[in-house]
Symmetry: C2
Subunit: 346 residues, 2 copies
DNA sequence: CCCCAGGGTGAAAACGCTTTCTGAAAGCGC
DNA sequence: GCGCTTTCAGAAAGCGTTTTCACCCTGGGG
């Protein structure tokens, strides 16, 4: 294939009969250039279909308008919602976005951060739960510290151990506690919990908050009524299935994400267990689709798109000297029809 | 971009007491370097937390391992599903992804292509429906032609008028026709259609295919039973609402995407109209969540994640001399419980 | 008439890397 | 010991921009 060389600023300058410097100034509007020359340059650029080489620009300016975004899985509605917010804010700030999807592999997360450091992105956004595993976090932290040592900005959503980065923090613990109290208020006393991978801070917080609030009310959840499963629809399905196999004694099931709850709902339906007739079901996140389930799911609503916008806004702020900025976001309980009053309760 | 003195290859070379060239060769494994020097370089790089400047590399090599991906809205489950596939394939090929979300603004689409051209991405992926509007397409086409003239690769999902790019083509027309025939087979004779923006090729194909197959069977759909609405959940809700206001006479409603169908289902439920008792409902795409709706939605299943992987694979192939590669993907009809046999039918 | 301010322009030095070209040293057969 | 090929390392020329610095004008004030 004959690959005609992409025309350069030099070509444009030559075609317009001006110097490189002048051409650059015209195209950037950097300095005042005589109208005659200006026109010649603009026309030459158009004629040659000139497109400035962004790499050369980044190199010469030592700056770029690119942010790196790392999430677990763009395909998941939770991240998709947040990503939409990030993209909206990025458009507003005229920023380019390079995206990483780790598929929940912590090593890949580190690989992405180091790649983005190489790209000299002006900010890095870590979307989604951190890991409890300190050893695992160490590599990530080192990479990010190096990045920040050179002036890079980091902002995260959710709790990330040890990273001292600006953060948008959904109040998972409190939200789950609120939910627990609401469910207690409906009269439930016997609960089951569909937990995610216990390595995720989000899981720890949500399940911990939920169980804590129950404990405060004198309600304990037995070990076998807490099931760990992947943070996916099928994980939720499997977990509910397992729960049923063990003999479902709870009157209310809490799934730590809506995605899992959707799977659980399917499992319950497949077993002919009525929701909320036989058992109540609640989730967390308020992803858009669950209000269209039957029954619509009770959940703790998080403003996903908003989270995305805010984390990007945080990253655009200059680093704060003292300690990191924390924006807490309180989720609010939305009682829908998947949870019903439990007659046996108080 | 990172401000403070990020260490450079020069620093590493100096610290290791070797030349730039040697340092470069060690770090790239380009040529054989004596073990003693090699170690000194590697250690110096580690000590200085060296991270190669990707822009400088791209410039020096005049090539990059970055692909641009442009979609309408990452937040939409359809695109989120495809994006997941793209990310998976990108991980496999060790490619970086820069993402654009147009929010369905064709101008922004052009802006993205030109920005990505500037970035000298090695390929551009256009995800999602093209526009019928020839004038609008002209700008996009020009930008892409310039990109390809310089060796850039373009691959698209869905039909894009005038772009002669490699494409993964969901057979929207045929899929919709299959669906229509299946619904006819259930005995339905009176249909309504929730159409998307008529400027989108996807809409034209799906609605066209659907109506065409009906016409072949001697069934006509009246103009007022075809409603145009945005390609969103709320668009579907509104459209169904409007349909109901006009007096719902159809026994079966076809929504041109699952996302719209989900909204329509909600509207029908809100009006106490039973699905499929009072009316059957079908969508298109088979996004993951609709099988969990009640009733689960009949649809035309597209392998979303697979589409994403395949479009990236296409883009990685060298350009084919003659005409563009076309990969047709036949969706298959999945009859679920949202559609029922219509007693009045044949 | 001279000097100086200042707008407009060009030459050239970065920016951080890759890669070609060149040269030095080392290994080999005679 | 002599020429020969290999191997390994460095000097330097790009890659395509931006930006500093210097220069040349033109005009206006003294």
């Amino acid at each position: 294939m004959v690959q005609r060389a992409q025309s350069t600023l030099g070509d444009v300058a030559k075609a317009a009969g001006v110097s490189l410097a002048t051409a650059s100034r015209v195209l950037n509007g950097t300095a005042s250039v005589g109208p005659a020359l200006r026109d010649r340059v603009v026309q030459a650029a158009e004629r040659l279909a000139y497109s400035p080489n962004a790499h050369a620009q980044a190199l010469a300016r030592s700056s770029s308008r690119t942010v790196g975004v790392i999430c677990h899985d763009v395909g998941d509605p939770y991240f998709a919602g947040i990503a939409r917010g990030v993209m909206r804010a990025a458009n507003r700030h005229d920023l380019q976005v390079v995206l990483g999807s780790t598929f929940r592999d912590p090593d890949r997360e580190v690989a992405y951060t180091s790649m983005m450091r190489g790209h000299r992105v002006c900010a890095m956004l870590l979307i989604g739960s951190g890991f409890e595993d300190r050893a695992r976090q160490a590599g990530l932290r080192q990479e990010l510290d190096r990045y920040r040592a050179n002036g890079g900005r980091v902002a995260v959503i959710s709790r990330h151990r040890g990273l001292r980065a600006d953060a948008v923090l959904p109040e998972n613990r409190e939200g789950a506690a609120d939910l627990a109290r609401a469910l207690l208020g409906l009269g439930h006393r016997r609960f089951a919990v569909l937990s995610g991978p216990p390595l995720l801070t989000t899981v720890v917080d949500r399940v911990g908050g939920f169980l804590g609030a129950l404990a405060d009310a004198g309600v304990a959840v037995e070990r076998e009524d807490i099931i760990e499963a992947p943070f996916t629809r099928d994980g939720g399905y499997e977990a509910a299935h397992q729960l049923i196999d063990r003999g479902l004694r709870a009157t209310c099931v809490f799934a730590s994400t809506d995605v899992m709850a959707a799977g659980a709902l399917a499992a319950l339906r497949d077993h002919g267990i009525g929701v909320p007739g036989d058992v109540s079901l609640a989730g967390f996140d308020d992803i858009p689709t669950i209000r269209d389930l039957t029954p619509p799911l009770t959940t703790v609503a998080l403003p996903l798109e908003d989270l995305g916008e805010r984390v990007l806004e945080l990253a655009m702020l200059p680093e704060r000297a003292g300690r990191a900025r924390i924006e807490r976001v309180r989720g609010h309980v939305v009682l829908r029809e998947s949870t019903a009053h439990h007659p046996g309760g108080s």
